[in-house]
Amino acid sequence: MTQKDLAEAVGVTRQTMNAIEKGDYNPTIKLCIAICRALGKTLDELFWEEAE
């Protein structure tokens, strides 16, 4: 799935999806859930980062 496909699936622009991937933009919880649903993943799987 490309950034554009995922962006269209969740109703945002490719630029926004790119900014989220690069860490330039923190999405709202609503958008996080929409991304998780589109990818069939949980919030933990996608967004949780283990502390070093």
Binding site: T2, Q3, K4, G11, V12, T13, R14, Q15, T16, N18, A19, Y25, P27, T28, K30, L31
Partner: protein, 144 residues
């Protein structure tokens, strides 16, 4: 108004809000500077064009900022807006070139000079929008 909001995603709305604040501040500064220079004896040859300049300068700065920060002019009509700004810029530039008058007379901007400022504003918006459009298309291709 509300339909327009649906056109932009959450990141676009946040950035647009921030740019609107910048435009308001710049417009306020422009009005203040205009008041100061008019009090000092400066006279605009055409007050109507001068008021359009006071609006267009902050909008131009805001539009350039929009393009730098990755905010599109319109979601589905990006090319349409670029063409419109391009045509307006082209018309202004052609008008300026066809009349070879001076921009300043005795250190004061002329009517022709005022139109030149407007032409520069439209041209700047057009160039910024087209650069962004090309950059986005290129990034889309790379990503695919």
């Amino acid at each position: 108004m509300f339909n327009l909001c649906k056109e932009y995603d959450e990141r676009q709305q946040i950035i647009r809000g921030s740019i609107c604040k910048h435009i308001m501040v710049i417009m306020g500064i422009c009005v203040l500077i205009n008041g100061i220079i008019e009090d000092a004896g400066f006279v605009w040859p055409d007050k109507f064009i001068a008021s359009i300049i006071l609006i267009m300068v902050p909008i131009t700065i805001g539009t350039v900022e929009m393009n730098i920060r990755g905010v599109y002019l319109s979601k589905n009509r990006q090319v349409f807006f670029v063409v419109i700004f391009g045509l307006v810029a082209l018309a202004n530039v052609v008008l300026l070139i066809s009349h070879s008058e001076s921009l300043f007379t005795a250190g004061v901007i002329t009517d022709y000079g005022e139109h030149a400022v407007l032409a520069i504003c439209f041209l700047t918006i057009f160039i910024a929008a087209i650069i962004r459009l090309i950059y986005d298309k290129r990034m889309e291709k790379i990503e695919e």
